[in-house]
Amino acid sequence: MAVKTLDFHARASKAITNESLQKSFSNLKSGFVAARARAVAALPEFEAMREAGAAIKDHTLDNLDFYLERFEAEVTKRGGKVHWAADAEEARLIIREICADVGAKTVVKGKSMVSEEIGLNEALEAEGLEVLETDAGEYIVQLAKEAPSHIVMPTVHKTTEDIADLFQEHHRAYGFSERAHDAAELIAQVRTLMRDKYFAADVGITGANFLIAETGSNIIVTNEGNGDLSCTLARVHIVTAGIEKLVPTLNDASVLLRLLARSALGLETTSYTTLSTGPRRPGDLDGPEQYHVVLVDNGRTKMLAGAFRPMLRCIRCGACMNHCPVYLSVGGHAYGSVYPGPMGSVLTPMIAGHEKAKELPHACTLNGRCQQVCPVKIPLPDLLRRLRHDQWEEGFIKGKARWGISLWSWLAARPALYRILTRLGITVLGIAGRSRGSFTRLPLAGGWTTGRDMPAPQGTTFHAAWAKRKKRA
């Protein structure tokens, strides 16, 4: 995974002053948050489903070895092949070898976050293969040589004009000489050119929303029908999936599918839910000749062992980012990783290492909205706090910050002294700021005051106000 998270601060600052980006993400906020809220309100069983969804995932993770063995046996029984990839490099190697074995030239891809995580496109292109994302959004960011800015809506940062420019530049090669003006014309171009690619494709790569141990199937959900065409028309179907995508049975998947569409898009279901199981059968008129599943670990067993196991429940719906004030302010690219927002701030350090993602666990106000909307009840704020703790223990927090936090913790452990000093501080600041009502600069608080004014304290400390209130009651 090409992780660029070391510059989170710089990218976030730039994003905040980018007007078009701000507009796109505020649309996301109004659209998706409202749609999800309506879908949840219409379903009295939603809370019970969240409980059940979390329990199914926990049960699977507790018995992951058992269910993975069953999954492999079912895939093998039906003529498919399961490959085990310990890390990104191994996964890329396995897929490159499958492509080489079948003499592949063209690869079409359905949307797969894990393929982005392992940097698959670059690896295949380096071998001289033509690799095409077929999901309209993923195709657009591929043309623009960008990363998706949202795991469900990859192009949320792009305007129709941006996309029209991009297509005008790249689609002349396909015979589109006129500039397309609206969404319908732009999508019609994608539809036309992609048809030929599906038929020409040697290999179709899709992700998996779920893997089913019971039958050895993978399930993808799409609205476009692109993943479905990719895995039906290509000669070879390769599924890339993290090991945590597994569930025991189709009944378990049904619970999670109800949660997924509502949490992601505010819908009861997507247009297409497709189960693929093995290669084409004797007598079938279509379908791939080979079926491969590449199971990717890449840091996941490490999470399974420790405090971060609940993160492996994630079904990649994107609700946590849609409800995150930090994500909605800075956008997906600021995170510098395939996985943005709250889920990304936990996953990226686990996959890429703490040292590469130092700033991410701090890009959070701990307001807890992500946990409230998570369909599988992942305690994201707790996990982010835990990451901050681990960073402290491992000595990643240095200099002024470490000194300041140490001082504060020393002081907070001495309540009497803490009260005296805060009362004194508030009185001094209150008097100093009385005339203007706020401060434009404060010693040691440059990080705060460069972006906004600090209001001058009015009245008394929280402790004093609380004591007074209790007395009155």
Partner: protein, 207 residues
């Protein structure tokens, strides 16, 4: 990798009881919480598929299918369509151009046979086999799906139970279709179609 996973889980060997419980769970999969449905499955399916932008038509028997399909086609041209081999026996006019093979690159209209309808979500389920190529579900501009009312079930779990009880081999592909192909990847505006059918026409057959 399994060795590492077992180590991550604490290397605890499973007792006979645990293994039996896991086997039992797999053999008789529990059903999770799901929306309560009050109306009868067929009326709910009709209402929900229409809400999902299917057009819905009811016919008394499969003998009515050919005229129903004719009515969907422009009167001026000789029909050029694809029909799933499962429906080949229905007496299609010999002067039509009909493909009984897999889907073609350009495909005006296809007629396929569903194995079930799901009332909960207003979805239709298609499976692959030699008489039902999957490509006919995604390549045409207009996808016509035939569904017997007796195959309408309340929930997806009922579809899995039917497929399990049929024995034989699990199908290569099961497609659950809940509307036309669409995308909102350009400016958040919904466009139909994206890569699949522009419209889906459901023909509910009473017998």
């Amino acid at each position: 990798m399994l060795t590492r996973i077992r180590a991550a889980l604490g290397n605890r060997p499973r007792s006979k009881g645990t293994l039996a419980a896991l086997g039992e769970r797999m053999a008789r999969p529990p059903i999770g919480p799901r929306p309560q449905l009050t109306d009868d499955p067929v009326s709910r399916l009709v209402a929900k598929t229409q809400a999902n932008l299917f057009s819905v038509e009811r016919i008394a028997s499969l003998q009515m299918l050919v005229p129903a399909v004719r009515a969907l086609l422009p009167e001026t041209a000789v029909p050029d369509i694809s029909v799933a081999p499962a429906l080949k026996h229905l007496g299609w006019p010999s002067d039509w151009s009909i493909n009984f093979g897999p889907g073609r690159r350009t495909e005006n209209l296809s007629v396929t046979m569903a194995i079930a309808g799901i009332a909960e979500t207003g979805s239709v389920v298609l499976r692959s086999d030699p008489a039902s190529p999957t490509t006919l579900n995604f390549l045409p501009d207009v996808h016509v799906i035939v569904l017997r009312t007796e195959d309408v079930v309340p929930y997806p779990e009922d579809v899995w139970a039917r497929l399990r009880s049929k024995g034989g081999d699990w199908p290569r592909t099961v497609n659950i279709v809940a509307g036309p192909s669409r995308t909102a990847d350009v400016g958040g505006i919904i466009v139909r179609p994206a890569h699949g059918p522009k419209s889906v026409h459901l023909i509910l057959c009473e017998s």
